[in-house]
Amino acid sequence: MKRLGFYLLLIVIWEAIYRLSLWPPYLFPGPLEVASSLARGLADGSLLLAVAASFRRLAVGYGLALAVGLSLGLLLARNRTADELLGPLVSGMQAIPSIAWLPLTVLWMGLSEASIITIVFLGAVWSIVVNTQAGIRNVPPLWIRAARTMGAKGSRLFTAVVLPAALPQMLSGWRLAWAFSWRSLMAGELLSPGRGLGEVLIVSRNVNDMAAVLAVIVIIGVFGSLVDNLLFQRAEEQTRRKWGLAPA
């Protein structure tokens, strides 16, 4: 309730600054204009189409990153040689903003869907690898010893003890990867054409429709944090509560 009031206040301040007419309305639209632009876009379906297109890329890129990241993370956690060879490479890759790959992916795959999905994938995959590996590596040896004396071994030991024990850290890796892939998606969409929220941003800027730009930004913010809140934060919270860890 307190929070709601605070945000209402922010909007009122925004409107007040807008009313002062310090800048022309096409540079600094007021909240009502943004809201009506948002409503228009949602009503004629153009924004929804863009959201759908963006989400499709995100889903494919993030899904691939999950599959590859988990398997690579597992490999690095279990195989010492693989870790020695690939470990530094992975942490190096993690330091590269994935959008830096765009010139290359455009050369290789053209200004296509595949090129953006690759960028999303590259944005997400490394933190999944790193956190999967670290999660498995950090499983307390005591639990594994306890499980072994109770007759757990091989793949049973892995699925019944190692995976659940590594889950909290793997979850935070997934969540981080989600944030990264969302950023990568926007950067990719801004720089290469094709349907999507990034395209709406570019087109709106080209026709000087700042209200529409802000409307898209609102949508990006809302969807990004909605998924983060409803999916990842909730899952993290649940494991934390179950494990009795302090809330983050």
Binding site: R145, A147, R148, T149, M150, G151, A152, W243, G244
Partner: protein, 278 residues
């Protein structure tokens, strides 16, 4: 019958080779409660791990009922110092864990887990997660989890060392009662001589590293025991003295060379003031 013959173990630490266990042989009859006491770091936990199959001896053999021990097995379950419960499972599911690994069907698993939780008096906490339990309760669940496997041998590695004195005393009575009921063979590692005297049939004092059996004590008293009884107090004192020598050896090796062990003597009362308050 557990039989250890000529067990040795050497560790490499910082490039140096440290002998942890010098040839050690031991026989434990079925149903006996045997405690291993020794100075800290003497290798008693290593010995327990070798019996559990979690560690390998460099030489020598461990046999349980004539079968050689080559790795961890459900006939030898360990209760660790930290309860080592899985935090993502409830108490009930933790107790079921080993049974699940053994492929026991769901209903039977559930019934057996409940039965052993009842034995440690935690039926009400079956659905609690480990973090919702106190240290003593967690150790009770760990004991139930071990007993549910119906092992030939119960190995306990300083299970009560991290608990407060009151909880520990309660658990001593509990373990005595459970042992009397189940008649398991127990190997109990501790550095607490009182605890060992209260619980055990036999107490083996291990020497400082490399560990070997220095002296054996038998406690011919019935249970539950009263440690203030002169006989038991006398045995406790003897064990303490035997152990003291080993603790001093460790201290002499670790502390400054001017350290000497001082035996008890009469200290002047703190209010001795030569009459200056007259």
């Amino acid at each position: 019958m557990l039989r250890l013959e000529g067990i040795t173990k050497t560790f490499a630490s910082n490039g140096r080779r440290v002998q942890a266990i010098s040839p050690l042989s031991l026989e434990v009859r079925e149903g006996q409660f045997v405690s291993l006491v020794g100075p800290s770091g003497c290798g008693k936990s290593t010995l327990l791990n070798i019996i559990a199959g979690l560690d390998r001896a460099d030489a020598g053999t461990v046999t349980l009922d004539g079968r050689p021990v080559t790795g961890p097995g459900v006939d030898r379950v360990v209760v660790f110092q930290e309860a080592a419960l899985f935090p993502w499972l409830t108490a009930q599911k933790n107790v079921e864990f080993g049974l699940k690994m053994a492929g026991v069907p769901r209903e039977e698993r559930s019934v057996r887990a409940r039965q052993f939780l009842k034995m440690v008096h935690l039926s009400r906490f079956a659905d609690a997660y480990p973090h919702e339990l106190s240290g003593g309760m967690r150790q009770r669940v760990a004991i139930a989890r071990a007993l549910a496997m119906d092992p030939r041998l119960l190995l306990m590695d300083e299970p009560f060392a991290a608990l407060d004195a009151q909880t520990r005393a309660l658990l001593h009575e509990e373990v005595t009662a459970i042992w009397a009921e189940t008649r398991k063979t127990v190997i109990f590692v501790t550095h607490n001589v009182r605890e060992a005297v209260y619980l055990s049939d036999r107490i083996l004092v291990l020497s400082a590293r490399p560990a070997s059996i220095k002296q054996e004590f038998r406690i011919p008293a019935g249970r539950p025991r009263d440690l203030t009884e002169p006989g038991l107090a006398y045995i406790e004192k003897q064990i303490m003295e035997s152990l003291r020598v080993e603790i001093d050896r460790v201290a002499q090796a670790e502390l400054d060379s001017d350290w000497v062990h001082e035996t008890a003597r009469l200290l002047p009362p703190p209010d001795r003031n030569l009459g200056s308050d007259i």
